[in-house]
Homo-oligomer: 464 residues x 2
């Protein structure tokens, strides 16, 4: 396999023309039954498009609830935009393999070669497109580490839409340049909690020093969308529509591997809200769901926010303010407070309902929690050999990929490992600095910490 | 031409196997005469490899003085490394063309898709390779905006060499994350002027508050290389060897354009020390030097550091400490103090002797000075349409490309414009912030400012 190129690019003409909707195959594998639907927080009945329309663009609400259509056409205007930065490269990690002296063949799909710096742009531009199509004036959203906010700012600028980003206050203060990129693309960026929403003012009244959380910021962005004429809310992960758009990652990866005559034995992705892993594994999961040979799937999460490895599979709110619909998912409870020492993203209390269901049903094989110092060791090893400084989120997947490759060295197995390298770490250098100067620590929540979070999961009589 | 893809990638197998040495054709065009050679600062005689060996790696010293060999083989190990991030894409700026409503076809060679963030890695890895080959222990260098320091850190990490980077103090303080990236790759980073060298101590004694300059930092790095066993000095621009390595940009660009059936009418590059423009235009300049039809060449520099547009073509030192050889080049004088308000790179007092000679002889058609607020306007226009946030340096070329495309709109000419987009602007967001908040100003040196700089150009009896 020495001749495998380092980078495999599909031609622009080979860009996927459809998104793949894994829920159609999940439904079929379940004998035509839909899995636990999202529930309206007031009525506890399954939400409808009409319920969602005040918050979401209508077409996106339809996608959110669509469990019928296996493939959904990608509009031509979106394909045009994708051609600006896609197909993204599938990279054979020759240098890393050599360093690890492993018989494994390691591939990664690299999504960092665009100014948003991550895969988030794949869904941002789709959401922007449907908002424009609907004639909206603007959008609201939240951002934690900042990748999603940047991606959405690029998309909004492209379609001439206003964008208001609620940025978790601790990130707003620690990552001033993230804010500047978003402003360069014309977005207005507000630290959350803010005094610009009812729920933000409540949060500030309770705790004026609050450094914010993703759950808080979601509540603020949703409230703003509901109260501002011609605005809707967009979200960068967790939702079914986001995983749908992100399937472009997996579709490209699968096509590129086919060109090389390869098929992965293991697929690895970091999992915060699930958008990247959900997208990367989708077409391979289709193989699993339809009874074909399929890879072993590993979701990697931070030990400090162990949603899948230690959370509960239950209906919970997607936000702290409890204004969103209820989703059946692995959750630490909407009141779970992520560790302040945690670097980067992946600290959301819940997990994509799709990934949660697949994990619960055994289709997604393994969830693995890793500690952040070992994640940064992997990141530095990777950056020095493969030349790319990865985002801390991506480095979770790198950690697992390195560990699997080392196992292969021990067993002599020539496994094919595919992982998602979701983005670059150029805006996460304060975390790298902590690692270099030795001030980075690990944090594992105690059982008591988790119980406090679980207490915020609603008790729904007759439902859970 | 609607069908031209957005991005044209050569195959890895099409990577150039040789560097192109434009000086061989310059010599031939001059009837077999070499142009003004570099002079030893003590003897004022042309420098020899033996003169340079204490400072430079021997093989690089040979390349520096080589005016005979038109092509120089790229070693296999270097090609392997290049495959990690090259060939870089040639991008058709479809979105920008549409915005400008121009009949021109705009292409740019984008060098920002690697962790160093710019084209600098092309020469850094070559210089690291020859240092390793010579069995050196380590290297010293300087960095201004930080791109070269980052690139050299990656190269040193790859070859297991020590690296000491003297970083201009104002950048060290304003760009802490640049420092962190270099440290992530294992480099030691020292703010310049520093107390670690004789010349740095002198500078600090004269002005304890000095914010440093590239010329100062070069002096310190050279002194350190001369006084540390097993160390040599490396430089990221200006030198002939650097332009040689950077010819890979132009060779790839020319090959990719040939695939598209295109040939540029205009080639545009930003020019600080000349490494990018020199590399991009080299194979097209070969056409000019050998009497074939060739593009119109434009070098774009900042109005605040107008080396080619207002400088003198004279022998000058490459550094402020006057320890380097003398080079015949366009210069503002080694004592020229660049404006403190200037963002980004391109503020070196001199210019590549190769570019200088070509400009002096009329082969390089035009040098153009642009003001920084108009540069950032172009940068923001570009980032919002083409999706890539450019480095301020690259934005100088973007400014000129946009202006040329607008001229085409007015004349109706379907010119093919090729420019170099040397890197991304992720580490230059404080400058973008200045532009957004309106605090960025322009600066044009007065004739008196220039005269003060010219006074530092040495008077060499019988030579100039």
């Amino acid at each position: 396999m020495k001749e495998t190129p380092y980078k495999t690019y599909l031609e622009e003409s080979e860009l996927p023309q459809v998104y793949y909707n894994v829920r159609a195959d999940m439904r079929e594998a379940a004998g035509g039954q839909d899995h636990a639907p999202m529930l309206h927080p007031g009525t506890l009945q399954p939400v409808t498009v009409a319920d969602m329309e005040p918050i979401f663009c209508t077409e996106l609400a339809k996608q959110e609830l669509n469990t019928e259509d296996r493939y959904i056409d990608i509009p031509g205007e979106l394909i045009d935009f994708y051609r600006m930065y896609r197909p993204s490269p599938l990279i054979r990690a020759h240098f890393l393999e050599r360093l690890l002296d492993t018989p494994a063949r390691i591939y990664y799909k690299y999504e960092g070669n665009n100014t948003s710096g991550s895969h988030k742009l794949n869904s941002a531009i789709a959401q922007g497109y449907y908002a424009k199509l609907q004639g909206l004036k603007g959008l609201t959203t939240e951002t934690g580490a900042g990748q999603w906010g940047t991606a959405m700012s690029m998309a909004a600028a492209y379609f001439g839409l206003d964008l208001e980003v609620f940025m978790v206050k601790v990130s707003y203060e620690q990552k001033p340049y993230r804010k500047t990129v978003m402003q360069t693309y014309g977005a207005s960026v507000v630290p959350s909690p803010s005094a610009t929403t009812e729920i933000g003012r409540q949060m500030l009244a309770e705790n004026p020093e609050s450094s914010g959380s993703l759950g808080n910021a979601i509540s603020e962005a949703v409230e703003k969308a509901l109260t501002k004429e011609g605005y809707r809310y967009v979200l960068g992960s967790v939702l079914n529509q986001v995983l749908l758009h992100q399937s472009i990652i997996g579709l490209e990866a699968k096509a590129a591997m086919e060109k090389l005559g390869e098929y992965p034995d293991i697929v690895i992705g970091c999992a915060g809200g699930g958008s990247n892993l959900g997208g990367l594994m989708a077409p391979f999961m289709q193989d699993r769901l339809t009874g074909k040979p399929a890879p072993y799937f590993i979701a990697v999460e931070p030990a400090s926010c162990p949603t899948m490895t230690r959370g509960r599979f239950a209906y919970d709110f997607c936000d702290t303010g409890r204004v969103t619909p209820l989703a059946k998912m692995y959750t630490l409870g909407n009141g779970y407070i992520p560790s302040a020492n945690h670097a980067g993203g992946l600290r959301y209390h819940g997990m994509s309902p799709i990934l949660s269901q697949l994990y619960h049903d055994g289709f997604l094989d393994e969830a693995r929690a890793v500690e952040q110092t070992s994640v940064f060791e992997a990141a530095i090893q990777f950056s020095r050999t493969e030349g790319t400084l990865p985002a801390p989120e991506s480095a979770h997947a790198i950690r697992a990929a390195i560990d699997e490759a080392i196992k292969c060295r021990e067993t002599g197995e020539e496994k094919v490992i595919l992982f998602g390298c979701t983005g670059n770490g150029y805006f996460d250098l304060s975390a790298y600095e902590q690692h270099i100067n030795g001030s980075m620590t690990d944090y594992i929540p105690t059982d008591e910490d988790l119980l406090r979070g679980f207490a915020s999961i609603p008790s729904l009589a007759g439902i859970q």
